[in-house]
C-alpha cells in the first residue's frame, strides 16, 4: 500500500500479484499487479463485476491458486512461497479462512452441521471430543445459532442459517483473517443485512480482519472501512469507503454506483453518462479506437466514455489524496465531462464479451 494507515505491519500483504489461469493458448491473465494490504481488525470490501478477478484473488491468497508473479505475505510469512509440508501446516493452522458464496454447494449435503463445523478443528489436531464439541457450539453461538442445528444437514436449514453455518465453520479454527466470497448475494435483503451486521460484530468481538467480496456497494458502505474496486484483474481505485463513495475518482466506480438499484431516483450520474455509446465509438478515429481496444490499453478503455489517446496505455495505480489510489489518466477531468453528458439515452451493449 502506498500510504500505510499505521506503522505496524499489515496482517495480509498482497504484493504485485499476477495470476495466470490455464496454459498455452488457453492462458488467461486474471490478475495483473494487484497490491493490497489488510490491517488487523479492518473490514475491506472488494467490488467488481463477474470476471474481474475477485474470487481468483481470494483463492490465490488462500493458496488454492498459485500466482505467476508477486507474493502473498500473511502474518509476516510469505505464504505464496510455501510448498508441501510447510504449506499444509500453514493451512491446518486455520488462521486464514475462506467463506464461499453458495453454502448449498460449498457445504457437503450429506454431512451434519456438527461435523461440518468440527472438521477444521480436527484438522488443527484437536482430538478430545468434548473440546471439539465445545469449539463447535461456541462457533455456532458466535453466529447466533443454537445446538438444535447440530444434527441437521445443510438441506434441512434455511438459507440464512446455512450461510451462518459456513461462517461458523470458518470461525471454529479461530482465524485472524476471514475472506468472504459474496457471502450475501444469495440471500434476501433482511438476511443480507443480518449477515453483514454479524460480520461487523465479529470484527469487534474477535478482532478479526475481514475481506468481503461483493457487488452490492450500498450494503458495503454500511460496514466496510476501506473498499478496493477491481476491474479485469486490476485494482482501479481504492481508499476509505466513505471517501470513495462520496467522490469516486475512477469512472468505473462511478458506473458501479450509478448502476446500483435504489429506492429513490436521486443519483448524481446515470450509467449512460459514463459509458460510451455505439454512436460515439463510431465517431472516434479508427486508429484510436483500435488502440483503446488493444492489449496495452486501460482496462476500461473499451467502455469508458472519457477514453482519450493517453488511455491506449494502462495507467498505473497512483496515490490520489489521503490513503486513496486511482488508476486513471483522466481522474481529475472525467467528472466534469460526465456532468455535461446527457443523462438519458440508451445503454448500448452488454458490456464486453468474455
Amino acid at each position: 500500500m502506498s500510504a500505510p494507515a499505521t506503522q505496524t505491519a499489515p496482517l495480509l500483504a498482497v504484493e504485485s500479484l499476477d495470476v495466470v489461469l490455464g496454459r498455452g493458448w488457453r492462458a488467461n491473465q486474471v490478475l495483473s499487479g494487484v497490491d493490497l494490504a489488510i490491517e488487523p481488525g479492518e473490514i475491506v470490501g472488494l467490488v467488481g463485476e463477474t470476471g474481474s478477478g475477485k474470487t481468483t484473488l481470494a483463492r490465490t491468497v488462500t493458496g488454492l491458486v498459485s500466482p505467476a508473479g508477486g507474493r502473498v505475505v500473511f502474518e509476516g510469512t510469505t505464504i505464496s512461497a510455501l510448498r508441501r509440508g510447510a504449506r499444509r501446516a500453514e493451512r491446518r493452522r486455520g488462521h486464514l479462512q475462506l467463506v464461499f458464496q453458495d453454502p448449498l454447494r460449498s457445504l457437503d449435503p450429506d454431512m451434519i452441521v456438527a461435523d461440518i463445523v468440527a472438521q477444521g478443528v480436527r484438522l488443527q489436531g484437536e482430538t478430545d471430543r468434548e473440546a471439539i464439541r465445545q469449539r463447535v457450539v461456541g462457533a455456532l453461538g458466535q453466529v447466533g445459532l443454537d445446538a438444535s442445528v447440530l444434527p441437521r444437514t445443510p438441506g434441512q436449514i434455511s438459507g440464512g442459517q446455512r450461510q451462518r453455518v459456513s461462517i461458523a465453520r470458518a470461525l471454529a479454527t479461530e482465524p485472524r483473517l476471514l475472506i468472504c466470497d459474496e457471502p450475501v448475494s444469495a440471500l434476501d435483503a433482511s438476511n443480507r443485512n443480518y449477515i453483514l451486521r454479524l460480520l461487523d460484530q465479529l470484527r469487534t468481538s474477535l478482532g478479526l480482519s475481514i475481506v468481503i467480496i461483493s457487488h452490492d456497494l450500498s450494503s458495503l458502505a454500511g460496514i466496510a472501512d476501506r473498499v478496493a474496486v477491481l476491474y479485469r484483474g486490476r485494482i482501479v481505485e481504492d481508499g476509505p469507503v466513505d471517501q470513495v463513495f462520496a467522490a469516486p475518482r475512477h469512472p468505473y466506480t462511478a458506473l458501479l454506483m450509478a448502476s446500483a438499484p435504489s429506492v429513490r431516483h436521486d443519483r448524481e450520474l446515470s450509467p449512460q453518462q459514463v459509458t460510451r455509446t455505439v454512436a460515439e465509438a463510431g465517431a472516434l478515429p479508427e486508429d484510436l479506437l483500435a488502440g483503446l481496444g488493444g492489449p496495452d490499453a486501460c482496462v476500461l478503455a473499451s467502455r469508458c466514455a472519457f477514453a482519450a489517446a493517453a488511455c491506449t496505455v494502462q495507467p498505473p495505480l497512483v496515490a490520489a489524496g489521503d490513503h486513496r489510489r486511482v488508476a486513471c489518466h483522466r481522474h481529475s477531468e472525467w467528472l466534469t465531462l460526465a456532468r455535461s453528458r446527457a443523462a438519458g439515452g440508451q445503454l448500448t451493449t452488454e458490456g464486453q464479451p468474455r
Binding site: 433482511s190 446500483a260 435504489s262 429513490r264 448500448t348
Partner: protein, 354 residues
C-alpha cells in the same frame, strides 16, 4: 391441514375495489382471483387468496421474502407448478381464457406464443451443447413454422433487439462461451421470440452484476415501450422493483399485504411489513449506516394463524390484529393494504420518521 374456512368470506365480500385499475381481479391481461394453492399434495396451504392483475403493457413487481409465495404464484400463472402443488380454489384468467382448466394442448398454445418466462439462472435453462442461435431458431421454427433461413434471420434480429452486440457471432456460440448477462439476454430473446403479451421474469436480474442488472432493467423498459409487453417481475429486492415497476404487490406468507402504484408504495408504505422491507432495501445511499433487519421469522408454510400473519413480527401489533381475518382496505387510488391499523396515527409517525 384444515383450510381456514373463515378466511374466504371477507375476501369474497370485498367491495369491488372502487374506481381505477385497482388490484381487483377483474379485467386486465392476466388476473388472479382469490387463488389458493396447497403444496405437498394438500398438506399445507402456501398461497392464501392471492388476487392481482396485470394490464397490457404494465410492469407489475412482486416482492417479498423467500418462501412468501411469489415464485409459486408465477409458476401457477405459467402452468408449471411443481409436483404435489394443487390449485385448491380461485381462478387465473389470461386474455379472457381460464388457465386453471387448460389442457396440455391449450398450454402449448399459450406458452411462448402468448406468455414468455425468464428465470434467475439462465445457464440452467439452455442446452449447454447447442448453440444459442439454434436454440432460439428452434423455437421460431416450431412455434411460428418459419423456414430454417427465416428463423435464422429472425433470431439475429431478436438478438440485436435485446442489445447483444455482434449477433451473427453470438448465434454460433454455445452457452459456456457467453457471460451471465449475455445469457440472460438470450433467454429474454427466446422468451419474446413469438411476440408474447406477457413476460414473467422470476428473479431474472438477481444473479447478475449491478452494471448488467441495470442494463437488463433498461432492456425490459425498452421492450415494454416498443412492443407493449406486460411484465410480471419478481424480486426480493424492493429497490430493483422500485427502479422498474409501475405497480408493486407485496407478498407476505402467502398473502398480498399491500399493493399499489410503485411511487406511492415507496413514498407512503402503509403496511408495517412494506415499511420493514423498505428499511432493509438497498436504499441507494453510500453512507455508513446501521443496517436494519426484520426481526423474527416468517410463519411456516401452512401455519394457521388467526388474524394478521405478520402480527408476530410487527412493532404495532394490537389485539384487533389477532382477533380475526384482516380485510384489505383502500389507502389511496389503487392502493390497498391488509392492515387494521393502516389508517392510524402510528403509521404517519413512522412515515414522518423516514
Amino acid at each position: 391441514m384444515t383450510i381456514d374456512n373463515l378466511k374466504s368470506p371477507d375476501l369474497a365480500a370485498r367491495p369491488a375495489a372502487g374506481a381505477g385499475p385497482a388490484t381487483g381481479a377483474t379485467g386486465g391481461l392476466l388476473s388472479l382471483d382469490n387463488l389458493h394453492i396447497s403444496v405437498h399434495h394438500g398438506a399445507a396451504t402456501a398461497i392464501r387468496g392471492i388476487s392481482l392483475s396485470v394490464q397490457p403493457g404494465e410492469i407489475v413487481g412482486l416482492v417479498g421474502e423467500s418462501g412468501s409465495g411469489k415464485t409459486l404464484t408465477c409458476r401457477a400463472a405459467l402452468g408449471v407448478l411443481p409436483d404435489g402443488c394443487i390449485i385448491d380454489r380461485g381462478s387465473i384468467t389470461f386474455a379472457g381464457r381460464d388457465l386453471t382448466t387448460l389442457s396440455r394442448r391449450g398450454w402449448e398454445d399459450v406458452h411462448g406464443s402468448h406468455m414468455g418466462a425468464v428465470f434467475q439462472d439462465p445457464a440452467s435453462y439452455l442446452n449447454p451443447s447447442i448453440t444459442v442461435g439454434n436454440q432460439l431458431a428452434e423455437v421460431l421454427r416450431v412455434k411460428l413454422g418459419l423456414s430454417r433461413r427465416a428463423a435464422r434471420q429472425r433470431s439475429i434480429e431478436l438478438f440485436t433487439s435485446v442489445g447483444l452486440s455482434h449477433p451473427e457471432h453470438v448465434f454460433h456460440q454455445i452457452p459456456a462461451e457467453l457471460s451471465g448477462g449475455m445469457l440472460q439476454r438470450v433467454m429474454i430473446a427466446i422468451a419474446i421470440s413469438c411476440d408474447p403479451q406477457l413476460l414473467v421474469a422470476d428473479e431474472a436480474t438477481t444473479a447478475l452484476d449491478v452494471t448488467i442488472q441495470a442494463e437488463v432493467i433498461e432492456l425490459l423498459r425498452r421492450l415494454r415501450a416498443e412492443r407493449g409487453l406486460a411484465v410480471l417481475f419478481v424480486s426480493h429486492d424492493l429497490a430493483v422493483v422500485a427502479e422498474l415497476c409501475d405497480r408493486v404487490v407485496v407478498f407476505y406468507a402467502g398473502e398480498v399485504v399491500e399493493s399499489g402504484p410503485a411511487a406511492e408504495i415507496i413514498e407512503r408504505p402503509r403496511h408495517p411489513y412494506t415499511q420493514a422491507l423498505l428499511r432493509v432495501a438497498s436504499v441507494g445511499d453510500f453512507r455508513r449506516r446501521e443496517l436494519q433487519v426484520i426481526g423474527g421469522q416468517p410463519p411456516q408454510v401452512g401455519e394457521d394463524i388467526t388474524g394478521c400473519r405478520f402480527a408476530g413480527r410487527c412493532p404495532a401489533a394490537a389485539g384487533a390484529c389477532r382477533s380475526g381475518p384482516i380485510a384489505p382496505v383502500t389507502a389511496g387510488t389503487g392502493h390497498e393494504v391488509r392492515c387494521v391499523r393502516a389508517q392510524e396515527a402510528w403509521a404517519d409517525a413512522e412515515l414522518a420518521a423516514r
